[in-house]
Structures are given as C-alpha cells and as structure tokens.
C-alpha cells in the first residue's frame, strides 16, 4: 500500500506552470473570508475574471473534453490544480457555480450535439455562471415530487413555480432546473430538465434570511435565494435529455454530490483551531497544555482523521477505477454529522469564544464562529444525513431494491 500521491517529473513541471500562472493571475484583493455574505461585488468580479482566465487554459473544468472547452487533463493534474488553488484558499471554479459543476455532466451525457456545443463551452470557459435549482418548498429529500410546471406551448415551454435554497449572491447567467412536463404521468416519468437563461422575463430571484448559507462544498456560497417562475417562456431547445426524462438526467450527478469522488487536502478547520489553542492561554498557560482541551482536541482530530481517510480511500477508488459501493454516502454522512459533533467539541473548548465575531475576541478571523453555524446548515444540502444513510444501506445490500428505493425513503 502507498498512501502518498506521487508525481512524475512531468506532473511536477505542470505544477510549476500552474504556480506561475496563479502567481500572476490571482489578484491581491481576492481574499477568502468567513463572512461569505460580505464578499463585495468587486471581489466577485475578480473571482469571475480569474475564472475566465482559468477557463481560457481549460483549467476551470480540467477533466472535461477539450472539444467543448474543458482541459482534457487527467485526475493527477486536476489534483495539482486543486492543491495549488487551495494554497490561495480557492476552489475550482473560484466562485459558487453549482449549476455548472453538477449540470455539465448531465449535458455531456444527455445533451444533443447542438446542446453540448451551445451549453458546455461557455460553462467550461468561465463565461457564464450557472446555478442548479432542485429543492422546492414541498420537495426536499423527496426531490421527485417537485410541483413547478413547464407546459408546452407552441415552440416554447412555459414555467411556473418556486424553487428554494438556490445559488449565491451577486449575478447568475444561467439556471438549470427540473419541472413537470406531464402532470398526468407517473412519478419519475413526468419531469424534464431545462437549462434556462436567468434573464428571461418572469424569473425573480429573492434572497433568503438564513442562519448561514454555506455548509459544505462550493466556494463561498454566500447567500441562498428563492427563485420564482411566473409564466416564464423558454425555447424548446432548453430541454435536455428528452421530454419526461428529466429524473434520469438529474440523477446523473447524484453520485458526485454524495462525496463519491473523494478528496485529498488540508483541513483548515483543524489547522485554525490548533493554531489558536497553541497561541492563546487559559489560566496562564497555553490552551493545548490543559488536559481537558487536549482531550477534546484529540476527539476532534480523530473525527477529522477518519473523515480524511474515507476521502482518501474514495479518491483512490475513483482514481484507480475500482468498484465502489457505499463509500460515497459514507464519506458524506461522516462529514456532515462529523461537523456537528466537532462543533460541539469546539464549543466545549472555547465556550463563548466559539460564538463571537467581535473583533477584539474573534477566533481565527470568524472561521470558527462560521463553523458553528455552517455545521448545522451543512447537514442538508446535497441530501440530508438521512438520505446518505438511505443510500448507504441500499449499497450495503440491506435497503430496498432500486426500483422501490427511487420512490421511498424507507
């Protein structure tokens, strides 16, 4: 066994190339902040500018086909890119782009040649930012029960309904969503998948007032919104994957959302917490020398290490194209419930200090306080802990069969 990612000289050369590029192109003002809501429009524009530059080199969506503007790179190169971005506290893309990350695979699988040429290059080149719109007020875990309709009217579809927990702050170019195209068809056979221009008349985006919007995944997701469709007319060409085939199209990306791809990287939460405890005192000695705090730090460390190893294992399984079973949802479940456990440990260590953003007392620039909130918020996006358990049980072979499980939680 070998737990270390080893790089060839070619790969190390690629790393140098990436480093040089980022050194030149990451602007000084592009900071990561705990207060994601507070990312200014100017900073957002810097993120987009960097995205377009990365997109120009095929580095924004590095594993996707060059033909459509992707990088055509392998996973090792992608890791190098992500590691180097991570040095700046940035992800790929360097802004919230759920619709691109999770919509592109669906288009690649289900789109017509024309749709691929139409939709993919702008996404891969960073020309557009896209949000995915899945959840509705009445459709959360039970995503297939969405009520938004898209009824055919001549050459168009007319969309009506509401989606929630969508996107981020600042602008968006495209939206993709699921809507009922056949109200009389059975469950899972009544939906279609649409890629929509966000500027179409009748689309209203309204920010939500939430505990925080972040949670897990996504670069600085900032704010979440409700999106209302009031008789929005979209051309028929916006429908990807065939009428009433939307459920299949949408589920193309689910494995991605369930942590199946794996992850290698630093744990900034741990680094920050440890840094704080090593550099601050309690009752006159370093916090790390307090036995109770030491014990709690080890509880956190163990939780994080297990999560890290699950991620490394998943990364290996993906990379080596090995069979996967329950590992994706396991990793996701661990991270979600682990963050809540860890938030509890942190409050035991820091008490009130874990909770305040007061400049005179804030811990690690607010990242700890944000974690107290995002540990709660992060329980749900991309599938609740219950949904992860459901999938995990199914994969272990003790849940219902696929036909049944698509329709029921239990």
């Amino acid at each position: 066994m070998n737990f270390e990612v080893e790089y060839t000289p070619e790969q190390e050369a690629f790393r140098k190339e990436v480093q040089s590029f980022l050194k030149v192109n990451v602007p000084a003002g592009l900071v990561t902040t705990a207060a994601v809501e507070a990312i200014t429009h100017e900073q957002y524009l810097m993120q987009r500018e960097l995205g377009r530059k990365l997109g120009g080199k095929g580095w924004l969506f590095p594993t996707y086909p060059k033909e459509y503007g992707g990088g055509g790179l392998n996973l090792d190169q992608t890791i190098i890119l992500e590691e180097e971005m991570d040095q700046y506290g940035l992800s790929l893309p360097p802004y919230y782009n759920s619709g691109g990350n999770l919509g592109a695979p669906s288009i690649l699988v289900w789109g017509t040649d024309g749709q691929k040429r139409q939709f993919l290059p702008p996404i891969f080149k960073g020309e557009v930012r896209v949000w995915q719109l899945l959840t509705e007020p009445g459709a959360g875990s039970d995503l297939a029960s969405v009520k938004t309709t898209a009824l055919r009217d001549g050459d168009d579809y007319v969309l009506s309904g509401q989606k929630i927990f969508v996107g981020s702050n600042h602008e968006v170019d495209w939206l993709w969503t699921l809507a009922v195209t056949d109200p009389n068809a059975p469950r899972h056979e009544n939906l279609s998948w649409f890629m929509l221009d966000a500027s179409l008349p009748g689309i209203t985006i309204q920010p939500l007032d939430l505990l925080t919007a972040g949670g897990e995944g996504g670069a600085g997701s900032g704010v979440k919104n409700s999106v209302f469709f009031d008789d929005v007319r979209a051309p028929a060409s916006a429908l990807v994957g065939g009428e009433n085939n939307g459920w299949k199209v949408a589920t193309t990306h689910l494995e991605l959302e369930h942590g199946g791809g794996g992850h290698i990287g630093r744990n900034r939460l741990w680094e920050r917490l440890l840094h704080y405890c090593m550099t601050h005192e309690l009752d006159g000695r370093p916090m790390t020398k307090d036995q109770d705090i030491r014990d709690l730090l080890m509880d956190i460390y163990i939780d994080i290490e297990i999560g890290r190893l699950f991620g490394v294992r998943n990364y290996f399984l993906t990379h080596a194209k090995k069979a996967r079973s329950y590992e994706g949802p396991q990793s996701s479940m661990w991270r979600k419930s682990g963050n809540l456990r860890i938030a509890g440990f942190i409050q035991k260590i820091l008490g009130y200090l874990a909770l305040t953003t007061d400049p005179a007392h804030v811990v690690e620039e607010g990242h700890i306080e944000l974690h107290q909130r995002s540990a709660i918020v992060g329980l749900h996006p991309g599938g609740t802990v219950e949904v992860q358990k459901l999938i995990m049980a199914r994969r272990i072979g003790i849940g219902r069969t696929v036909r049944e499980e698509a329709g029921r939680l239990a």
Binding site: D209, G351, L355, H361, G407
Partner: protein, 376 residues
C-alpha cells in the same frame, strides 16, 4: 409524593403562556432578536408590572416572595419563546446576589427598584482567558480615601448593555483559596469609565464590560468585603435551576415544533414522522427534554424544601445545558432546510442554546462540582 404543579402554579403557567401567545408571537420574537437588549422598555416595564421580575424578592423589599418553583414555572414559559431580555440577569441572579450578599440597608435600597424594573442588574464575574470559577476573578479594585477604583475587563457578561447597574466581582485581597478575597461591588453603569458593548455573532446579549478608573464609594461593596464569592455561590445555587427551567421551556418549544413538522411535512407521500430515522431524532430530543425537566424539578423541590441541593443543582445545570443544545441539533435534523430559515423561529432557540451552554459554568464544570458535592 406529588410531582404536579399546585393550583396557583397551574394558573400562573396559563397566565404566562397566554401572555406569550398574545404579546410575544413569533413576529415579535423575531424583532426582539434584533433588538439591542432584547427587551424594549415598554415590554420590560409591562412584564415587571406583572410582577414576574420581582418574584424571588421578598415582599418586604417590594417583590412577590415567591418560591423558586413558582418562579421556574414562569421562566419555563418564557423559555419557550425564547423571550430574551435581562429578566433572569436582573430579577433572578442579580436579585439573589444582592439578597445573599447585601446588608439590610442595601437590600432596601436596591431590591424594590429591581422588582419594579426601574433598576436592571447584571452580575459581572467572568474575565478573559479564565476558566469559570472563583479563580477567574482578577479584576482589582484599589481602595483610596473611602473609594474603590476599578480597572479591567469583564467578558461574556449577560445583559450588561441592558443593565443600569452592574454587580462586579473584584479581587480585594489575595488569598491561597481563590474563593476568598472577592468582593461584590455595585456599579452604576452611567459612571464615567464604564463601557459595555454587546458581542456580535452566533450568541445573544452577551457583553464585554470595561472599567477604566471607575470610582465608587466603599459603600458600594455588598455586605462584607472579601466575602463575595460564597454569597454569589449561594445565589447561583438558587438561580441556576431557574435558568434550567428556561432551558426546559426551550426544549419543549423545539419538541413541539419538531413533532408538528414531522406530522405535517409530507415527503414520499407520507408524513416524515413515519420514518424511523426522523422518529429517532424526536425520541432523542424527548429524552433530553425530560432529563432536563426532571433534574430541574427535583433541584427546585430540594431548594424550596430546604434540603441539601448542591449535587442536584449541578446535575440539573449539566443536563439542561447539554439537553437544550442537543434538542436544537435534533430539531435541525428533523427540519432540514426550513429550520435554518430565520423566520421559521427555530434558530432563535439554537442561538439561545449555544448562548446559555456555558452560562454560569459549562456542563463539565458542573459535573465536577457535582462529584465534589457527592463527596467522591
């Protein structure tokens, strides 16, 4: 044995519950959440006029002279909001500290004003980078010509911005035993050199208070100088179960929300409460709620009946703080997305559960004091 409330307590409970429904519905609570003190004067004065601030103050000092259990009945209902504001800080912890530490003269001066709400107390004991306990009190009050001069910082003081007067724990004598040599000084917050500000973040109405050359007369010391901590400890022993009952009320509110939501939220063509995983969240929440409730009730009974209560009080605080915290976590698991929306109301409790978790000592502190009280 009788574990039910008496008739008068049942009536009081209904009265407060009605008040909360009519005067503090969710819309009001969401506004209070953004209010600087959590208690706009008109609301504060109305509640004080109802007698709920002065319940624990003996009648000779203008209060209601109620039992701790009576008072807990009220705070349990307030906790259901949760209603913020300096009710506990002033009417319970503040008043009890004055009662335990003050001279007859001081009680006569201070308590009637506290009962009617015209003075608002907050006890300032904790200091930066210190563990909870008497050892944390380091702020010095230098005596000079019949005055004391306070310099230093108190941190994580509940409702200090709302308060008109601070009861400040200061170290007036050095001592091997950290519980000795502490004095409690009543400081008018309008004095020059006193500044308080609310700490922002995922917590509510917890403040930093700074003292820069603040001069008070020696008569501002409650009772005998140097004996402050034991008096404060006696006050805390009685005050803590009231805080616990507020947490119990919080648990009940999130229990009710979660049960209601799990019965009405339909996913996969059935109420989500039918799924065992959702049921289990609510079952764990229920266990935390009931554990908090019954440990608190027993502590109240022991105190009201003059039984040795120390271990029960520590038990109640450890269990209730952890219980309210975990109850909110389980409620979030039940609610998923909607629970994090501020307007839904659950996050008011989540924030309050975090805020109160380490108030007057965190669960580990109380577990260890419980071991001491049990003579282990």
């Amino acid at each position: 044995m009788d574990l039910s409330l008496n008739e008068q307590q049942e009536l009081l409970k209904r009265t407060v519950a009605d008040f909360m429904v009519h005067e503090c519905p969710k819309t009001v609570l969401l506004e209070l959440d953004r209010h600087e003190t959590g208690a706009p004067p008109e609301l504060w004065n109305r509640i004080a006029a109802l007698g709920w601030v002065g319940m624990l103050i003996p009648q000779q000092y203008g209060g209601g002279g109620n039992s701790l259990t009576d008072t807990a009945v009220v705070y349990e209902e307030l906790g259901k909001g949760p209603l913020p504001g300096p009710y506990f800080s002033s009417g319970v912890l503040g008043a009890l500290t004055v009662l335990e530490a003050g001279s007859e003269e001081q009680k006569r001066q201070i308590l009637p004003n506290v009962a009617r709400g015209s003075q608002i107390l907050s006890v300032a004991a904790q200091e930066p980078a210190r563990k909870w306990g008497p050892g944390m009190v380091q702020l010095t009050a230098t005596p000079q010509n019949g005055t004391l001069t306070l310099n230093g910082t108190k941190l994580f003081i509940h409702d200090a911005v709302a308060a008109t007067h601070l009861v400040v724990a200061v170290r007036t004598q050095a001592s091997q035993n950290p519980a000795q040599g502490i004095s409690l000084v009543v400081v008018d917050k309008s004095l020059p050199g006193v500044s308080a500000r609310t700490l922002p973040g995922f917590l509510g109405w917890v403040c930093e208070v700074k003292f820069e050359n603040v001069r008070v007369p020696a008569s501002a010391v409650l009772g005998q100088a140097g004996n402050g901590w034991p008096a404060f400890a006696r006050a805390m022993e009685k005050a803590i179960p009231i805080l616990c009952s507020y947490q119990v009320g919080g648990c009940e509110a999130v229990f009710d929300m979660s049960v209601e939501y799990s019965r009405t939220r339909i996913q996969f063509a059935q109420p989500i409460g039918r799924f065992q995983r959702v049921q289990d969240h609510i079952i764990h929440l229920t266990n935390h709620m009931d554990a908090a409730r019954w440990t608190t009730y027993e502590a109240l009974w022991k105190l009201d009946s003059d039984r040795p209560a120390a271990s029960s009080v520590h038990l109640a605080k450890a269990v209730s703080s952890e219980g309210y915290y975990q109850a909110c976590n389980y409620a979030h698991e039940v609610h998923a997305g909607i629970g994090i929306s501020r307007e839904y109301g659950l996050t008011l409790h989540t924030k309050m559960s975090r805020t109160l978790y380490q108030c007057l000592g965190d669960p580990l502190y109380h577990k260890r004091r419980m071991a001491d009280a049990l003579d282990l």
